[in-house]
Amino acid sequence: MRRSSCRKQDEVLIDRLEIYQMFPVICVSVSTAAIIRLHERFEFLDKDQTGQLRPEDLSTLPKLDFNPIGDRIISAFFPPGKETLDFASFVRILAHFRPTDKNHARGGVLQAPASSSTGKLKFAFQLYDQDGDGKISRAELFQALRAMLGLRVTEEQLESIAERAIQEADLDRDDAISFDEFRKSLEKVDIDHKMSIRFLR
C-alpha cells in the first residue's frame, strides 16, 4: 500500500468533507460507505496520482479487455471531448448502479434519479447509441451484436438477427429502436435487480 492505513483514514475523512461540500448531490444518492470504497478504488486506478482518471487508467484493467463491450463502457465514462475524469463524475456515473430504493419517494426531484430503472436503462441505451441521436439504428445494433458475438458468427447471421430484433421491437416503423421501444422490449426483465451492484447502496 502506498500509504499507511491511519493516514489514509484521515485523508479519506478530509476528502469526505470536501465531497460533502462540493458535491452535495452525490451524497444524497450514494451512501458514505460506498463513497469511501469508491474513493479507494479511484485512487487505486489513478496510477499517476493526479486526482483525475484517464482512459488509459481504465483500459489497463485486464478483465475489461476481455469484455466485448469494454471499450464502450470506458467511453461512457469519458464522453467525447473530455479526457479526464474526476472523482465526482466517477461516482455520479456509478450511482446509476445503485440498488433502486422503491420505498422512498423522492419528493422535489425534477427528473427521475439516476439510480431508478429509467436512469439505468438510459445509461444502457447510451452504450448502444454511439452517435447519440436517441435511436439505435440497424447499423448500431449490428455493431453491438458483432462485438458480443465476435468472429464466430457469419455476417449473414448477424444481419438476420439484427433484422429480426429491429422488426420485433420497432413499433413505429422508423427502422430504429427508440428509448421507449427499448424500454418496452425489456419490460419483463427486472432491471432493478439486474443492473444493481449491492455495495453501492
Binding site: 444502457a124 445494433l141 438476420s160 455495495f199
Partner: protein, 779 residues
Amino acid sequence: MPSRGAPHSPAGQGLPERGLLLLMVLLFLQGSVLPFGAASSPDVSQPAGLNPHKVADVGHNVTKKAFPVLIFDYQHIQAPFEISLWVLLASLMKLGFHLIPRLSSIVPESCLLIVVGLLVGGLIKLAGEDVPPVLDSRLFFLCLLPPIILDAGYFLPIRPFMENLGTILMFAVVGTLWNAFFVGGLLYAVCQIQPNNPSVLHQLELLPCLLFGSIISAVDPVAVLAVFEEIHINELLHILVFGESLLNDAVTVVLYHLFEEYSGVGVVTVMDVFLGIISFLVVALGGVLVGAIYGILAAFTSRFTSHTRVIEPLFVFVYSYMAYLSAEMFHLSGIMALIACGAVMRPYVEANISHKSHTTIKYFLKMWSSVSETLIFIFLGVATVDGDHDWNWTFVTVTVILCLVARVIGVVGLTFIINNFRIVKLTTKDQFIVAYGGLRGAIAFSLGFLLDKEHFPMREMFLTAIITVIFFTVFVQGMTIKPLVELLAVKKKQEAKRSINEEIHTQFLDHLLTGIEDICGHYGHHHWKDKLNRFNKKYVKKCLIAGERSKEPQLIAFYHKMEMKHAIELVESGGGVKLPSAMPSTVSMQNIQPKKPPPAKPVERALPQLPRGREEEIRKILRSNLQRTRQRLRSYNRHTLVADPYEDGFSEFLLKKQKMMELEKKIKHMNNYLTVPAAPPDSPTMRRARLASDPQSYNVKPASDSVPSIQVDLASPQSPDSVNLMDEFRRAEQEEEDRGLMMRPPGDGHAAKDQQKLMRCLSDPGPSPDEDEDEPFLP
C-alpha cells in the same frame, strides 16, 4: 356403499355426468378386482404359481382328465395386473376430473385424488378384504418419487434458482431445523404438562418427539408442485417454495437418521450433534456431487449418440435413476442428487440430441411424473383407510397448531434476516404466500411409516397425526390458496415467451455489469457468473458437446430455436411459408413475420397483373381443358386451378411437373400453327416451373398473378382464343422481362447452404413451450 347416485337428466347425459358415471364404474371395477387379487395372499400365490407345472408333471401319472379349454389363472399375472390397474385408475381419474368443469377449478387435483383413494380404500375394506399395503416405503422412495423429482430437476429454471439460492438455502436448512426443534420441543413440553391425568402421552420422550418434529417439518415437493402448478404464481415465489421443498431433503434425512439412531439410547451428546452437522454437509454435498458426476457422464455419452438417436432418451432416464440409487445407497440425499444430475446434464444433452429425442424426454418425464403424483395421492387415501389409527385429540391438535405457528414464525423471522442481503426484498404478501405454501405430503407419511414398531410404540399415533397434518395442509391450505392469491392480488406468472430483443439486451447488460463490477473492483454476482461462463465455454463445452455446436454462441442457438418455433407455428396455422431457397433476400433463415407483412419479394412483384376480363376468359379456357384432371385435385380453389400446395406437396409437385410436360408439348404444337415466334422452351415461365426445387414455391397466389405464368393455354390449336392467348402470353412475357424479373435461381450455393442450415436446425432440440426452457445455460 357410498353412492353418488346416477344423475337423472331428462335430456340425456351431458359430459360431466358421463364423467361421474365413468368414475362410478371404475370404482366398482377396482373394488371388485382388487379384493379378489388381495385374497390371494402372497404365500398362497407361490405354490399356486408352481401348481400348473406340477399338475402338468403329475398329470402324466394320473388318469387323463378332459383337456381344459379355458383356464382362469389369475395368480399368474397378479402382480403386474394389479399394478397396471392402479396406474389405469390413476390416469382415468385424472381424465375424469377435467371432464367435470366446475370441480377442477375449485378443488385442487390433489384433494380429489386423496378422496378417490379414500373411496377405493373404503370399498376394499367393505368388501372385506385386506387393503394391499400400497404406500410401502420402498415402493414410494424407489419408484414413485424419482420421476417427479427428475421432472422437477430437469426443467428447473436455473437462473431464478441461482439468483435466489441464498434465500432458498436459508429457508431450507435453517427453516427446517427451526421447525423441527420448535415442534418437537414444544410437543414434548405439552405432553409433559398433564400431571393430573396420566395419559399415554407421558411416555413420550424427548427424542421421539424431536424425531416426529423432524418428520413433520419438511415441506413436501410433491404437494407443493401439485398445488402451485394450478395457481400460476409468479416465478420468484414459486422457486422459493419449490426450491425449499427440494433442498430440505438433506436436512430431513440427517435429522431423521440422527434421532432414529439415538432414540433407542435416549441420549444425544454434543459429539453426536457435531457429527450430525458433519453428516449434513456430507449428505448434501455428497448428493450433489454424485448427481453432478452422473450428469456429466450422461452429457458425455450423449455426445456420441448421433447414430443411434432412438435410445437417446434412455440415457437421460437411466443415468438419472442411477444417480438417485447411488446416492440412496450411501444414505446421501437422493433428491439433491437427482436435481443436480438433471440440472447439470441438461444444457449439454440438449445441444447434442435430436429434436425428437428432446420431445420424447420431455413428454416421458411429464407423463411419468404425472402418473406418479396421481398414484401417490390415491395411495395416501388408501393408506389412510387401511392403517391402524390411534387418535389422540391433544396430540393431533397440538401438532397441527404447532406446525402452522412454527412455519409462520420461521418464515417471518428468516425473511427479516434475509432482507438485509437481498436486492429485491420480500414483501409481507410474499412472506404470507411462502408460509402458507408450506405443504406437507407423502414423504412425511412414508418416513413415519418406516419407523420401527419396536422402538417407537407411538408409531400409530405419529402416523395419525402425520396424516391429519397432511390432510389439513393439502385440503385446507391447498383449496384456499387460490382464492387468497386472487384476494391479495399477488403477482402472477407472466406467460409470454422470451423475445430475441430480451435475449440480446440481457446479454448486453450482463457484459455491462461485469465491466462495471471490474471497474469498481467488486467481485460480485456477475463476476463469478462471467467466470463460470468463460470456463464453461472454454473447457466444458468442448468435451461434452458434439461437433461444431460446441462453438455456437448462446445467442445463435437461441435464435435458431426461435426461428424453428415460428416456422412450425406458421406451417401449422397454414400461413404462407416460403423456404429460403425461394427467397432472394439476404436473410439466411426464414424471415417469417406472422404479425407484420413480409418484406416485398421481387418474385411477386414481377408477376404481371392482367385486366379482369382477360383473366376470366383465360380461366374459363383453362377450366374446360383441365376437366379430366379435376378428380385428382384434392382441393378446388376458385382462383387457381392448381391444387392447394399445402396438401401433400410432393404429389402435387409431380402433378404439376406432368402438366408442364404437357404444356411444353402443346406449345411446340402451336408453334407449328402460328407464325408468331413462340416463346422459347426456356421461357421465364418454364424456367420458373423448373425452379421448383421444393414443392412449396407454388403458393396460393391471387389469380391475376399465377394464371398467365403457369397455366398458359392448354387449349387445342383449334380453339378460337388460342391466338389471342398466345399474344397475351407473349405480351406478359415481355412485361415480365421488362420488369427485370429475377429469374435465375438464387445461387445454387446459397440454396445448398440454406438446406444445410435447415437440416441442422431440424436436428436441433426443438421448440419448447415453456419459456424457461429457452434460456441458455447461466445467462
